[in-house]
Amino acid sequence: MKINEKAAAGTMESSDIYIEVAPGSGGIDIQIDSVVSDRFETSIRNTITEVLSEFGVKDAKIMVNDRGALDCTIRARMETALKRASNGGI
C-alpha cells in the first residue's frame, strides 16, 4: 500500500486513539504520545508496526496520540488511517 496523502482516524476521547498518517521520507517513522506511555508505548508501537506490515507499508510517517486504547482499537484506527491516506485526504 502506498501512502499518497496525509490522513487521520480516531478521536481524543477516552479509550480511543488519534492516528495521523503521512507520506514518509524513505522509511517508517512512528511518534507516540500516550497517557499510558510508561507501560504501553512498546506495545502500541508493536501493534502499529504489525498493521503497517500487514498492509505492506514501507514508507510513512505516523503520529499517534493515545487515550488508553485497547489493541483492537489501535488496529482499527490504524487501518482506517492507512486506507484513507492511500485513497487521499483527511
Binding site: A9, G10, E13, S14, S15, D16, A69, L70, D71, C72, T73, R75, A76, R77, E79, T80, K83, R84
Partner: protein, 292 residues
C-alpha cells in the same frame, strides 16, 4: 432469551469494549444513525475489530447496518461484518419481503466466500415505516434468517406525520400489528426504545405497556434503562411458582388417569399449560437453564 437490547454507537471504542457490562441480553452495535457519513468507514472497521478480538461472553451481538438505499453503505457493512459471525444483522427501514431476500442473498454470498455455513448470521429487520408495518407479516416470513422483527418508533412517527409522545398512542396500531404479525409467523418481536433517558418511571410504564401487548422484549438507547427493562420482561416469582404448579397438576392428573383438572378452583386447559411452559422457558433461560 432477549429481554433487553441496548444500542451502542459503532464508532465509540469506550462503549464497544464495555458492551457486556451493562447487563443487556443483547447489544446492538450501530453503524447507521449513530455514525456520521464521513465516519462510516472507521465505524465498520472498529466494529469488525471489536468482534474479532473482544470476548462478550453470553451477551448476544447484533449489528445495525445502513439502509439498503443509502449510498451502498449497507453492502460495505455486510462485507466487513458477516465474516466475524455476529448473532444477528439488523437491517433498517425494511419495507417488504423483497428487501429481506436481497439482503439474505448477499449475506449468503459472503458466508460462502468466508467458509461459514449458510444461514449462520440471522436477521432482525427494523420496521420503521408505514409500509413496513403494513407488510410486517410478509417481512417476518420472508426468509429463514429472520428470527424476530423490531419496531422503530421514531422514524415511524415521522413517516406517519405525527408527533412521538411518551404515552405512545400514535404507535399503538403499529405495536399491535407488529406483535400479531410476529406471533402469527412464530417469531419474536421487540419494542422501540423509550427515548427520554432521564425518565426512569416513564420507561417502566412504557415497558409494561409493551409487555402487555405481547412484545418479547424492548430496546434501549440508555444503559441506565436496561435494568428496568430486564425486570419488566422477566416473569415474576409468583408467575413462575404458578407455572410449576400447573405442570405438576398436569403430571398428577395424568398418573391418576384424570382428563379434566383444576387448580386453585380454575380449570386447567391447553392455553394455561402453554402459558405455563412459556413462563418456565423464560425463567430457565434467564437463570441459564439452572433453575429448579
Amino acid at each position: 432469551m432477549r429481554r433487553s437490547m441496548l444500542f451502542l454507537p459503532g464508532n465509540n471504542p469506550n462503549m464497544l469494549i464495555n458492551a457486556d457490562v451493562f447487563g443487556a441480553d443483547a447489544v446492538i452495535f450501530d453503524l447507521e444513525d449513530a455514525v456520521s457519513p464521513d465516519e462510516k468507514d472507521a465505524a465498520r472497521i472498529l466494529v469488525r475489530n471489536a468482534l474479532k478480538y473482544m470476548d462478550y461472553g453470553n451477551t448476544e451481538i447484533v449489528v445495525r447496518i445502513n439502509s439498503i438505499d443509502e449510498n451502498g453503505f449497507w453492502s460495505k457493512d455486510l462485507d466487513e461484518i458477516i465474516p466475524l459471525k455476529p448473532s444477528m444483522i439488523m437491517p433498517t427501514k425494511v419495507t417488504n419481503a423483497e428487501y429481506v431476500k436481497k439482503l439474505s442473498d448477499y449475506m449468503t454470498a459472503i458466508e460462502q466466500k468466508s467458509g461459514i455455513p449458510e444461514g449462520t448470521v440471522k436477521l432482525i429487520p427494523l420496521i420503521e415505516t408505514a409500509m413496513g408495518v403494513e407488510n410486517a407479516y410478509e417481512i417476518a416470513v420472508a426468509d429463514e434468517r429472520v428470527v424476530a422483527i423490531f419496531l422503530g418508533g421514531e422514524d415511524l412517527t415521522a413517516d406517519l406525520c405525527c408527533v412521538r409522545t411518551k404515552e405512545g398512542d400514535e404507535i399503538f396500531y403499529a405495536r399491535c400489528r407488529m406483535v400479531n404479525a410476529a406471533r402469527a409467523a412464530g417469531k419474536d418481536v421487540y419494542d422501540t426504545p423509550f427515548t427520554d433517558v432521564n425518565d426512569d418511571e416513564g420507561l417502566i410504564v412504557d415497558a409494561k405497556k409493551a409487555k402487555s401487548l405481547g412484545f418479547t422484549g424492548k430496546a434501549s438507547i440508555a444503559p441506565r434503562h436496561v435494568k428496568g427493562i430486564n425486570e419488566v420482561f422477566s416473569p415474576t416469582q409468583e408467575e413462575v411458582d404458578y407455572a410449576y404448579e400447573v405442570l405438576e397438576a398436569i403430571e398428577t392428573a395424568k398418573k391418576q388417569g384424570k382428563g379434566a383438572i383444576s387448580l386453585r378452583g380454575k380449570m386447567i386447559d391447553a392455553p394455561i399449560v402453554l402459558r405455563a411452559n412459556q413462563v418456565i422457558a423464560a425463567y430457565e433461560s434467564i437463570k441459564g437453564g439452572s433453575a429448579r
